[in-house]
């Protein structure tokens, strides 16, 4: 089976710094990584390929430098990669992003039919979880989000059974292929590539597809033009009017500080003591 895994190159959020004066993101020197949630989906796709045979193609939309993330995915064992990159994609919101990615997957399907598409649960920079469902809808793929486990895949009958995380429990769902899956984090252990994979990744030519190459004829559906949402302003939250009242700690023991803290808490909120008393009684 041919599986497409959509990945995104994101800034390593642990390294993001905000300029203290201008409140803008300082992008210089921030390392990029594959969106960590995507790795669980990539791993699951690779496992299915190892078990049933076939091929895993990784797909990303982004600037030309996003090929480093595709190469990384190749070094982990993916068989092929496609970089979807065009100036007309700039400023895409989730609706325009799902359009571009769905178009590329449809194009891939023309030569090599795709049985399953994997996406990350969400990204760490946008955190929307909207692109996966968007692609599923556009390609009319059966949608399976927040999957904890793939129980069974029957290629001949084109059936799949999964365990999907719901509020308060797990749904066991069966559906037909083709389908789109987003894996929940921590559901598998992401592999390191073999030496052979790493060498192959370094040698692989990654095709770069323009919008036209992906079969997109109407660029009004792409990028800023194709995005119904617009970000009006980016800002740091206004500080609270008052800063925290500091408990006096100079020269005090930890026990004195703790006692002063209880007094301060109960003085500031008369009902808090009662709340705690009832709470701790349980």
């Amino acid at each position: 089976m041919h599986i497409v895994v959509c990945i995104k190159q994101v800034p390593d959020s642990a390294q993001i710094r905000v300029h203290p004066v201008t409140n803008t993101i300082m992008r210089q020197g921030v390392p990029t990584i594959i969106n960590p949630y995507d790795l669980f989906s990539l791993e699951e796709a690779l496992r299915l390929r190892d078990k049933f045979g076939g091929k895993v193609t990784v797909l990303t939309m982004g600037p030309p430098m996003a090929d480093t993330s595709l190469r990384k995915a190749l070094s982990m064992g993916a068989d092929a990669a496609v970089l979807l990159s065009d100036r007309c994609f700039a400023g895409s919101d989730t609706l325009a992003t799902s359009y571009a990615l769905a178009s590329a997957i449809a194009k891939i399907t023309e030569t090599e039919p795709v049985g399953m598409v994997f996406c990350g649960k969400q990204t760490i920079d946008g955190d929307t979880a909207q692109v996966g469902p968007g692609i599923a809808k556009r390609l009319e793929l059966n949608q399976l989000t927040y999957v904890e486990r793939i129980d069974a895949v029957d290629e001949t009958a084109r059936k799949i059974t999964v365990e999907r995380r719901a509020e308060g429990g797990v749904q066991v769902l069966s559906t037909s292929l083709p389908c789109l899956i987003t894996m929940l984090e921590g559901t598998n252990v992401v592999r390191r590539g073999t030496m052979e994979d790493m060498l192959r990744a370094a040698r692989t030519e990654i095709p770069m597809w323009s919008a036209a190459k992906a079969g997109i004829t109407d660029t009004a559906l792409c990028g800023l033009k194709g995005s119904p949402t617009v970000v009006k302003k980016v800002f740091a939250p206004p500080p609270r009017k008052e800063k925290a009242k500091q408990i006096d700690v100079t020269g005090k023991t930890a026990d004195d500080i703790a006692a002063a803290t209880l007094n301060a808490l109960f003085a500031a909120d008369a009902r808090l003591e009662e709340t705690l008393f009832r709470q701790a009684g349980h």
């Binding site: 800034p11 959020s13 993001i16 905000v18 993101i25 609706l95 920079d125 946008g126 955190d127 929307t128 909207q130 996966g132 469902p133 968007g134 556009r138 059966n142 949608q143 399976l144 989000t145 927040y146 059974t161 365990e163 995380r165 719901a166 509020e167 308060g168 429990g169 749904q171 066991v172 769902l173 069966s174 559906t175 921590g186 119904p228 949402t229 617009v230 970000v231 009006k232 302003k233 939250p237 609270r240 800063k243 925290a244 009242k245 500091q246 408990i247 700690v249 930890a254 500080i257 703790a258 803290t261 209880l262 500031a268 909120d269 808090l272 709340t275 705690l276 008393f277 701790a280 009684g281």
Partner: protein, 365 residues
């Protein structure tokens, strides 16, 4: 009236980007809230959204509607009644045995159908696994804008909704508009909005719609449902008292100090994002924008610096007590009480002092 005025100073930046709504979308009215009914229970986030929806509807001078989808029966009826009591003026309902358990296909079809028929200008859903699964499909089908995980909503003078959410991994906030398509859709996490008062006996109009699908036409089947053995993450979001730790604890073994204080207070415990990323605690215990949003009576944050993504997840707490060695840590900008000190010494002292204090109070009762 407006034509006579000179061009207002604030308008230009916006005017360039906003497009006049088409006559078709101008007919879209009212604020809708999706009432999430799963396995007989309404998720409390739906009531929280009705509280927020009420404010938006009042500002717009329109009605607030709840949308209840589920199998016919007592729990769907209770959800409809609850929607009125939490503020809905009317309820749109689709009740069909096919909607007994959540599946994307029939729910997305029903919701899309309702929107196309009754035309709301705003549609709010809880940012739960169900709400996000559904919202993404519905927004794509309707080709409209969807803003995830909003923390604040406002209505502009031109009636458009500004949806504010954290961005860039929670390091800044941004305000997003859906320009010229309706409805304007948004998801909001549980506990981000406060729970409105329930007005017992309040009632409203009911609009019944049919799903018009057959089981044969739905590809996805539910084979089984396995309820969770423990519901501890649900407890964290709705806990009255929460104690959490961050990187200031130094090493994973020290997290037990957080648990000990939580245990004495009968509180839930959690941690900041780096702790989850380092594997010190499970992800269900993460507090902040990408974890759980909490609104406890008391929140104690030990060794947490207070990045924006953490701040937006805890700001609804009535009382925040922060412990940090760095007097300039951002957490002191939004905490109510602060202790500049080492969590490793302060936490055990607090645990002991609270334990003694509560024991004395118990003895005195």
């Amino acid at each position: 009236m407006t034509e006579a005025k000179p061009a207002p100073a604030a308008a230009p930046a916006r005017g360039k980007m906003k497009v006049e709504l088409s006559d078709h979308f101008k007919t879209y009215k009212d604020v809708w809230v999706f009432i999430e009914l799963e396995r007989g229970q309404v998720h409390p986030v739906s009531w929280e959204l009705l509280g927020e929806g009420r404010k938006l509807a009042n500002k717009l001078g329109v009605e607030l509607a709840g949308v209840v989808m589920g199998a016919p029966g007592d729990s769907a009826d209770a959800a409809v009644a609850g929607a009125y009591e939490y503020g809905a003026d009317l309820v749109y309902t689709i009740q069909d045995p096919l909607l007994a358990d959540y599946r994307n296909e029939p729910f997305a079809r029903g919701m899309t159908d309702l929107v196309n028929t009754y035309k709301p200008e705003i549609l709010l859903l809880g940012a739960t696994t169900l709400g996000r699964d559904l919202a993404g499909t519905v927004a794509t089908t309707l080709k409209t804008g969807l803003t995830a995980d909003c923390t604040e909503m406002a209505i502009d003078d031109d009636r458009s909704m500004g949806a504010t959410r954290p961005t860039f991994g929670g390091s800044l906030l941004c305000t997003i508009y859906t320009l010229n398509v309706r409805p304007q859709m948004a998801t909001i996490r549980p506990r981000v909005m406060s729970m409105p008062d329930r007005e017992a006996g309040r009632t409203g109009r009911l609009v019944v719609h049919s799903l018009g699908m057959q089981e044969d036409s739905i590809v996805t089947k539910i084979l089984n449902y396995i309820p969770d053995a423990s519901k501890e993450d649900a407890h964290l979001a709705y806990a009255d008292v929460v104690v959490a730790g961050g990187m200031g604890l130094g090493k994973p073994e020290n997290f037990k100090l957080v648990k000990e204080l939580a245990s004495v207070l009968g509180a839930e415990y959690g941690g900041s994002r780096p702790l989850v990323q380092k594997g010190w605690i499970e992800s269900a215990r993460q507090i902040g924008q990408t974890g759980k949003t909490i609104r406890p009576r008391l929140y104690i944050a030990a060794g947490i610096s207070g990045a924006i993504q953490h701040r937006v997840g805890v700001e609804g707490a009535d009382m925040i007590l922060a412990i940090n060695t760095d007097p300039n840590a951002p957490i002191f900008d939004f905490a109510h009480q602060g202790i500049v000190g080492d969590a490793l010494t302060v936490l055990p002292a607090l645990t002991e002092t609270f334990r003694r204090h509560l024991a004395q109070k118990r003895a005195a009762e």
